[in-house]
């Protein structure tokens, strides 16, 4: 068993900012679903503690690409890939890599809020419980801390035992983020996290992402151009399985190199 990133013991005094910063290097990644070539050779470096936005029309491969980082495509039967993804220098697709350990380091928030049909408390505590942590005090402190980080604490502190299914969509999504934070990842992947939310909830989640950047490396897939320009430091534009352009968000949105990028951003296609 080899962990990708140096694991810091789950000690309650831990300060997440002490965590090793996660740098990602992608080398010539190609992906197929059966005969369909979904990603056609992508190279990319992602800097620690930044927000990187993946944009592009539906079916361009950005979600597939995002799911490579925590190996969620492993369950797709027709999935096949070539190339390397290195996190802090370690290839996460090496045979020796323990996928469960990898996912504790690289968390994920999904498009549709997907809380477990359990209580609010149990939702956040789940990641710790599956690691075999039984220290009730530690779990409780971590749950409270994570709920505070996502600014949900004041809304739910009196009914932690209530089913998470009873929360609003926006609250559910913040709960899902809290659940991800509880296992203390260094990278958080977000797959269109606000596409199912109303504008007010979206604003709250965006604010949260901006704050989380201090401690985590965040990659976010989004269809919302304003969102990409508001919250990300870097933006990558994908089209038909290729990385068309990648650079500082400001540059991409004000002065893109490629005509295709400009057309997409300005809404002329996609």
């Amino acid at each position: 068993m080899e962990t990708v990133i140096e694991q810091i013991p789950l000690d309650k005094t831990i300060d997440p900012s002490l965590k090793k910063k996660a740098k990602i290097e992608v080398k010539d990644i190609k992906v197929w679903y059966d005969d369909f070539n979904a990603i056609k050779g992508i190279d990319m470096d992602i800097k620690p503690n930044t927000v990187t936005a993946f944009i592009g029309p539906s079916g361009c491969g950005k979600s597939t690409f995002l799911r490579l980082f925590n190996r969620m495509n492993d369950y797709v039967e027709s999935f096949r890939m070539e190339g390397k993804i290195k996190v802090n220098g370690n290839n996460i697709y090496k045979k020796k890599v323990n996928v469960e350990e990898l996912r504790k380091e690289i968390g994920m928030v999904f498009q549709k809020p997907n809380p477990f049909p359990k209580s609010i408390f149990d939702n956040v505590a789940y990641g710790l419980k599956i690691q075999g942590i039984t220290d009730k005090q530690l779990i409780e402190e971590r749950v409270i801390d994570c709920l505070k980080q996502v600014a949900l604490w004041d809304e739910v502190k009196d009914d932690l035992k209530k089913s998470a299914m009873a929360l609003s969509g926006g609250q559910q999504q913040r709960l899902c983020i809290a659940r991800t934070l509880a296992v203390q990842p260094s990278i958080i992947l977000m797959d269109e996290p606000t596409s199912a939310l109303d504008p007010i909830s979206t604003a709250k989640v965006e604010e949260l992402i901006f704050k989380l950047k201090e401690k985590y490396t965040i990659i976010i897939v989004t269809h919302n151009m304003q969102q990409a320009s508001r919250i990300s430091d870097y933006t990558a534009f994908f089209y038909l399985g290729e990385l068309i352009e990648y650079g500082k968000t400001k540059t991409i949105f004000t002065n893109p190199e490629k005509q295709q990028t400009e057309n997409y951003i300005t809404g002329r296609f996609g």
Partner: protein, 284 residues
């Protein structure tokens, strides 16, 4: 008559036809239950439940058969529940989707349609003779377990299929292994559906007669079984036996025993419905 009126008329005709069909089934059931109640309800008292069988109808009770049915029910649950659920989980979550699994799938559905007497013959050969269990409660339970396994497996698979993929994704993304995901998320979320299937399968097992007769369950057993290796009778066999007697008293007894058996089945089905409703509420 224009088109709209024609369609309305068709609508009405079908509605009336549907009501008629439903009523037909219901009336038959009401008639049957009413007939049984008239024949048997006066016969049911505490003695009827606690008395041993006897040659005299008015002294006869269902104690041994009822105890036999309870033993069979408990042992069948203990065998069929873990095996059926495990098989369902395996087929749904672990097995690769290839030709072999497709063949397995079709055959499990086929097994659910095999006449119960065939299972009786299988039980007679394998459990009674080859394994040497004799005409025991255990042999009967194993036979009934085989009979209801396909139902439990299919119900388990359907219940697991109904668990949203997003829940599994969330669990995996937090670093849970496959087994942790199944145990902590998939099974709790599908437990209502699984329990419903198991209870309905068991309520079928309680009413089975043919395979148990083949296995060697007796119509007359002087004592209630005390261990899995004892001889036994069950309620349906007792009813069958009583109905074939000429004396009127035994017909009354049979009707009374049918009421008890129906009561057990209705209660089990009621519990199944309760679990299903509770489960649906939880997932939505």
């Amino acid at each position: 008559m224009n088109n709209i009126q024609k369609n309305r008329l068709k609508d009405q005709i079908f509605k009336i036809w549907g009501i008629g069909c439903t009523l037909f089934a219901l009336i038959l059931l009401v008639f049957f239950i009413g007939d049984i109640l008239i024949d048997g309800i006066m016969r049911i008292d505490w003695g009827f439940i606690t008395d041993l069988p006897s040659r005299k109808a008015e002294k006869s009770g269902i104690y041994t058969a009822l105890m036999g049915s309870i033993w069979i029910l408990l042992l069948t649950t203990a065998i069929a529940f873990p095996v059926g659920v495990a098989a369902g989980v395996y087929l749904e979550e672990y097995s690769n989707k290839n030709k072999l699994s497709a063949i397995l799938e079709i055959n499990i559905s086929n097994l659910a349609g095999v006449p119960s007497i065939i299972y009786g013959l299988l039980g007679l050969e394998v459990f009674v003779r080859i394994m040497g269990l004799g005409a025991s409660v255990l042999a009967g339970s194993l036979t009934l377990s085989l009979l209801i396994l396909p139902i439990i497996i299919v119900a388990t698979r359907e219940a697991i299929k109904a668990v949203p993929k997003s829940i599994k994704d969330a669990s995996f993304a937090l670093g849970a292994s496959k087994w942790q995901t199944i145990w902590n998320q998939v099974l709790p979320a599908s437990s209502g559906g699984i329990l419903t299937g198991v209870i309905l399968a068991l309520s079928r097992a309680v009413g089975e007669t043919a395979p148990l007769i083949v296995v060697g369950a007796l119509a007359y057993v002087p004592f209630a079984p005390e261990s899995p290796m004892d001889e036994f009778s069950v309620l349906p066999i007792q009813i069958f036996n009583w109905i074939s007697r000429p004396q009127h008293g035994f017909i009354e007894n049979a009707a009374a025993a049918i009421i008890i058996l129906l009561l057990i089945t209705f209660i089990m089905n009621g519990i199944a419905v309760y679990f299903r409703n509770k489960w649906q509420r939880k997932l939505n």
